[in-house]
Symmetry: C2
């Protein structure tokens, strides 16, 4: 009898946890990802704001899984699934057979029908986007230093972050700190009052998934360090150098998108009617409904908790589901045992706001301020993939904490050409 | 009386040394560079081979010079000099006046009339190129792992380094070590005998600027770790997936250029007849001949030693010239004193070959092997720009030394699209 073959698409938190649970078992496992590296997304905002290097928050997938002899890693882009023939289809025409398939392809930013905004307002889903944001920010400051036009200086020094969730809050805090520091220390012709950071949220409060007191704390902290929070404000349009909100165009040097996600196109691959945000409906054992031997987890899956509410799109959900699914499939394929349904254990929810400021929601009790920030730092260093990265990130954080310097304020030469120059003022353009 | 204004073009080793010598004096200094960062070029090969991150070997120029109140830093591309009107011209149309001008724009790779090769065989002059080489190398390994065609696997696993100078030798050693390690540890379907690293040199020996015994040592070491050295071999043509030498096409997955440099286009800006390799002839005080108040240094300048031989294009020459010129101009502009001519002090020449292997040429005595390697590492950590980078690089080196792991094996998503896919086999194409 040949070994059963499991294919896992996606090596994010969920896919990796699942692969590790299946590691060194008597099952053949193939992990397919379009990237060669996994990404510690919670710290990606620090790459975008020049505090860390991309390599500090990512590791080659095959290195992470090298110790498991039964796991093969392939870099490749999936663009379809033949669920009848039990094969996945890769973009270069190759086909990969499976006995069981696990879809852990995560989510992407949702531009709500305006995908053209993506180029002007990158999100924070990949190293490439983080680097783009870093380049735009730093380049805008360099251009502002050289500009002799006051309005243009103000435009270049205006950053707008769309979306008041954890990513938006982290970015707003970090950009505000970085900008204030650079203006105070390194730029002769710029002044603090030309520098603006706006955090724009369509709903009535920031950190809407957190309790009210933590939202309030975050809003107060951000306001104190100079971030302008605009609530109940929807974005209407985005162009390379400006953004329209509440009917008004605001010229901006850097626009960042963090306003909601949608699942990757897995539902389309399967011809399944997706749930809200494109997520794949799954049963309590994470099997995709109506597609035998196919499972989904993390941001891709629409899994319900005991009350029938969808589980949130969080790293800890994906990780727990991956671990559960790996163990459940191992038991089922090797011994025929059927596992009990998946139950999510909430470990607490956190967002970092700035130097010495973070919030933790543990359900029953809430934590905020310096202690929360310290806990946040400890937890995130601990969650990094290996000892070397823990050491490197710790040292850089200690250094930044002591000096407020950023280590990675680097504009790649090719970025200057890629990022569109501000268009010349055009009186014909509607305002 | 207004302060005299000095403009320095280029913030490499020479330009920075010059700016620092003029720091906090009663002279206005403007440093113009097309990048926002300086680059510690001696370690750039480690970025290309996934051992270090770009931010480990570079720092924002304005941070390096922040402590000097009289120095202004501008990011901008120079594309001309009006030596009559005493202005430099920037690519966006801005003009910058000077009383004295220092050209420290360094060098670029010389493709000997085949600039189209640049896209297929990047050199090692910028972070962008180093990252390109890293992506190509790592992507070739990923593609080889997936390929089922043996010839294609061999092509992808063949790296060719053009030029047997220090850069070529460093790259050949590092690629050989990286590839062997990845094949042994992380790639299931690749074997060591499919992996080839070729070092191609047009002259009769590698490290031609070093004494014969050190050249021999380097050649023996490289041969022992599996690098194929091809001497007296000129490159005739380069295409995306192959290189022609000695009349034969060799299919290759990664081609790196390190075969000679030429000065940046400063001679053209000045309308001066350039010397060999495009360098600007200067007098013993580094003044450009026939262009009053304009000076040149480092790779840009053709300066002669006491025997009338051109000084080599080395970091230590540029640094010493920068320091000399900064002090000489300060004395001349502030007190009218004329400095004695520049004299180069040879501090020794070094190249690193691999783990535990480097060479040092101190003129009278030569050093090679493990001790030379250790000295090389100490010196290069010491030369890094600040304490944080020294610490980070030291830790990463200790980690790599203990584990042979590389920390930055990262393929940026956008690279996959940028790097041309191997063309389909074409029987029409001349061989």
């Amino acid at each position: 009898m040949t070994k059963p073959q499991i294919v896992i698409i996606g090596a994010g938190f969920g896919g990796l946890a699942c692969a590790k649970a299946l590691g060194n078992s008597d099952i053949g496992v193939t992990v397919v990802d379009r990237r060669n590296h996994n990404l510690f997304q919670p710290l990606l905002y620090q790459v975008a704001t020049a505090a860390l290097s991309p390599a500090d928050v990512s590791e080659p997938i095959r290195r992470t899984l090298a110790r498991y002899g039964n796991i093969r890693v392939l870099m490749g882009e999936v663009n379809g699934i033949d669920s009848e023939g039990r094969e996945i289809l890769l973009s270069d025409g190759a086909r990969l057979p499976y006995d069981s398939l696990i879809i852990a392809t995560g989510s992407e930013y949702n531009y709500f029908g305006h995908d053209e905004w993506h180029h002007h307002a990158p999100g924070l889903k990949s190293v490439h986007e983080a680097r783009q944001i870093r380049h735009r920010l730093l380049l805008a400051f360099e251009q502002a230093e050289r500009s002799t036009d006051d309005a243009e200086k103000r435009r270049l020094l205006t950053s707008v972050i769309v979306g008041g969730g954890p990513t938006g809050v982290e970015m707003a805090g970090a950009i505000s700190e970085l900008g204030s520091f650079m203006i105070a220390k390194d730029f002769d012709s710029l002044s603090r009052d030309q520098f603006r950071v706006l955090l724009v949220e369509a709903g009535p409060r920031i950190l809407a998934t957190f309790p009210q007191d933590l939202s309030d704390y975050a809003a107060n902290y951000l306001t104190r360090i100079g971030v302008e929070i605009h609530l109940n404000t929807a974005v209407q349009d985005i162009e390379p150098d400006r953004i329209r909100m509440a009917g008004e165009w605001l010229p901006a040097g850097c626009i960042v998108w963090g306003a909601g996600v949608k699942a990757s196109p897995a539902a389309r691959w399967l011809g399944v009617e997706p749930g809200p945000a494109g997520r794949l409906p799954v049963d309590p054992r994470l099997a995709v409904i109506g597609r035998p031997n196919i499972y989904a987890l993390g941001d891709t899956a629409l899994a319900l908790d005991a009350d029938g509410k969808p589980l949130p799109a969080l790293a800890q959900v994906a990780k727990q589901q991956g671990l559960y699914l790996g163990n459940a499939l191992k038991a089922e394929l090797l011994t025929g045992a059927k596992s009990p349904p998946f139950v999510f254990q909430n470990r607490g929810n956190t967002a970092v706001i700035g130097r010495n400021a973070a919030v933790f929601d543990f359900g029953r009790w809430h934590l905020k301020g310096r202690l929360a920030w310290f806990l946040w730092a400890i937890v995130h260093v601990w969650l990094l993939v290996n000892f070397e990265k823990r050491l490197l990130v710790s040292i850089q954080w200690l250094w930044r904490y002591a000096t407020r310097q950023r280590g990675a304020r680097l504009i790649d030469e090719d970025a200057v050409g890629h990022i569109m120059p501000p268009p010349a003022a055009d009186p014909q353009r509607p305002h």
